[in-house]
């Protein structure tokens, strides 16, 4: 029975090529858009290298001092992180790195290479999961001794030395000093806002004053929890530490606000000083889910519209089926199946299109170093959306179809 349903559905799709095309177009492009959007989202906040263990990572990168008249907000001072975050008891490890990258100039022989630089400590490489293509990261001892060593990303290494392997051990000039290339990592896309850089250096080689006791500065802490379940405990511990701290410049400020946020929460807070610990995720989701639904609604209505029109066109067929004893339920099943088949087909097409668009996006280098792709998560979401879409756009026409009285359907059958 099911197979014959399937056969009929297939034949119907082939018979009305133009309408099958319109439907497929609508479904596949809608899903393509949604999958591409999700892939962009996933690329920024999903668990991927170097934040492979995103569920166990917390980021402390914003410090807000608030008073009745004024408010200051900035990244966090190195000294503050050293003193109050490294000493947290719950985390497994704490890394400190420069918040945001700074564009600098490397001199490789006569060649001038502009790179985005990030100062880090030695824990950085243990907390995050960089993919080393060649060489190794700098270790704790090298950071302690302010060794002039650095890690490059693959593209810069290749541009400067021809290949990743060739780069290891080579010397470059930076700010008038010779540095040695220790390792080469796979490119980190700029959408990985908190870990992106092209060149990583031991924080101790900076000329900036790391002992500046100000709470504000240019650094962030990346905290690795032992287990995902420890995340709230770490957040709570950090708040306790903050609560005990004396407020700098109490004449001007009355409150210190800073949070240990997950990657997602950081992304959603997006520099909004008023956002709470979870980055006000609820309103973010409300907005985006609402927008997403609206975005799906239009093609869905379109599909319903076409389906209803086709239903009426096929009134004669329905009449015959009813006359030969098909029940309303059977007809609904038949048409739903037809629709789900259509949407699944459109879904697959949409995933293919999405893969193409993502590939083109990667190639265009619109997002530098992006390696967007349709991974398992994205694929699953896409397929789920396709099914939802099929049901959404199929139920009403199917219902309408099944309610068409047999005699009227037969009489109203239309030639052509």
């Amino acid at each position: 029975m099911f197979l014959s349903y399937l056969k009929i559905a297939w034949k119907v799709l082939l018979r009305r090529k133009f309408f099958t095309f319109i439907s497929l177009f609508g479904i596949s492009f809608t899903l393509m858009m949604l999958v591409v959007l999700y892939a962009l989202f996933d690329d920024a906040v999903g668990p991927a290298r170097p934040e492979l263990r995103a569920d166990r990572l917390l980021f402390i990168n914003r410090m807000i001092l608030r008073g009745p008249q004024s408010q200051s907000a900035s990244s966090v001072g190195y000294d503050f992180l050293n003193r109050y975050v490294r000493t947290l008891r719950t985390p497994e490890k704490v890394a400190v790195s420069e918040r945001g990258s700074v564009n600098i100039t490397l001199y490789v022989g006569e060649q001038v290479v502009k790179v985005d630089r990030c100062y880090t400590d030695g824990n950085y490489w243990a907390v995050l999961d960089f993919d080393f293509v060649a060489g190794r990261p700098y270790n704790l001892a090298e950071v302690r001794d302010a060794a002039r060593v650095l890690v490059l990303n693959e593209t810069v290494a290749r541009r400067s030395f021809g290949s990743a392997a060739a780069a290891v051990g080579q010397r470059v000039q930076l700010e008038g000093q010779p540095y040695q290339v220790l390792g080469v990592v796979r490119d980190v896309p700029t959408s990985r806002e908190l870990t992106y850089a092209e060149c990583w250096l031991p924080v101790t080689t900076t000329t900036a004053d790391l002992r500046d006791p100000g709470f504000m500065g240019d650094y962030q802490a990346i905290v690795l929890a032992r287990r995902t379940a420890d995340v709230p405990a770490i957040q709570a511990e950090y708040q306790q530490v903050l609560a005990r701290l004396p407020i700098p410049d109490p004449g001007q400020y009355q409150e210190i606000k800073s949070y240990a946020r997950t990657l997602l929460a950081h992304y959603m807070a997006s520099h909004n000083n008023a956002a709470g610990q979870d980055g006000d995720a609820a309103s973010f989701w409300r907005q985006w889910v609402g927008l997403g639904l609206l975005f799906m609604l239009l093609p869905a209505i379109n599909l319903v519209n076409i389906n209803v029109s086709r239903t009426l066109e096929r009134a004669a067929e329905i009449g015959v089926r009813k006359a030969f004893g098909a029940t309303g339920g059977m007809l609904i099943r038949q048409f739903l199946l037809e629709n789900v088949l259509l949407t699944l087909l459109g879904g697959l097409l949409g995933l293919g299109l999405a893969a193409l668009v993502l590939h083109l996006l990667n190639e265009s280098h619109f997002i530098p170093y992006a390696h967007l792709g349709v991974n398992g998560r994205v694929f699953g979401v896409g397929l789920l959306l396709a099914l939802l879409f099929g049901l959404l756009s199929g139920v009403y026409p199917a219902y309408k179809m099944s309610k068409l009285p047999a005699n009227q359907a037969l009489k109203g059958g239309i030639a052509l």
């Binding site: 177009f25 000329t207 900036a208 239309i414 030639a415």
Partner: protein, 400 residues
Amino acid sequence: MIRHLFTLMWNRRRANALLVVEIFLAFVVLFAVGTIGTNLWANYRQPLGFDYAQVWQLNFTTGAQPRTEQFGTQRQLMAELRANPQVAGAALTAGNTPFSFNDSQTRLDFVEPHDSTRRPSGPINTYYIGPELRAVMNLELVAGRWFGPADAVQGAHVPVVIDERLQRAMYPDGRSALNGLLAGNNEPSRRVIGVVRAYRTDGELQEPLPSMFEAILPNDTTFLAQSVLLRVKPGSGAALEKQLTDDVRRIGPGWTGTIRTLTDMHTVQMKMRLTKPLLLGSMSVFLLLNVALGLFGVLWLNISRRRGELGVRRAMGATAGGISRQVLGEILVLTTFGLALGLLVAVQFPLLGVQNVRPDIYFTAMLLAAGALYLLATVCALYPSRLAAGIQPAVALREE
């Protein structure tokens, strides 16, 4: 005939409800995109106020050097920069340079000159800059004067130069703001000495804010500006860049400098600011394509279903052109229904002032959206209407 079409479409409202809803949603999408687009365009058309083609930005960090010594080093650095034959001009500035995504905003009170009443301002972009900025950025002075040596002497008021937008905010009636006063809390008030066209460091696409300049005086030792805007001679490149950053390291103990060209920063900013609108735009183009195909499909199916009716109309004396016009007219009437619903929603935005967008932008967007929808509907109906006109009445009437 129009009445007839409205009657017909009204009587078919149940059958056409989904189509109307679709048109309504399409209008909402078009309205949203139109608002964003019109807003960007309106912003883009405002004068930028400066010229950035040959301008570089040098940022320096001062390392562990004690604060008291920093000012001397800075003066020395500026002198060396200006002495460089490749540098046409150099001006100190706070971090809120063009296209840097940094901003610094203050709220001040406008003081009415005759009765000294105070009126609070909105946020004002505030720039602490060296007096050389005007020459470096080619700012256009429209009234009064720019900072001069006389301003180095501390007076009762802090001299400031403002832009035309702030002048309009202070005096909406179009009076000149020269010598006008801007008062703050617990700080000396500012007196306007000059008006420039604009200085939109947030970029062309951002809603312009009123701006105000305060000069960094040579003897100022409270605020250390760590950015320099440099006008370089044409043809300057990596060599000059290396030379300048080397200068920074040589002059300042522990100092480092980084250089970016404003052209690069502009590109980066444009890309950032355009990503979302472009994404939205392409999504809505696709949505409209979808709607267009759907509309076309439904119309086409309707024509084959309505052959009898159209045949009768021909028999009653309608010409082929009349039938074609009718089909077109019908879809335009439906579009009008959808539009009416959409306008009900859209008009809430300027009425309630939901977003911080000027009402005229909303109305332009409504007009654009409505026009685009009518155009879309017309294009979709062209082929079906020709199809309808080509129906042979004799054949259509015989089918049953």
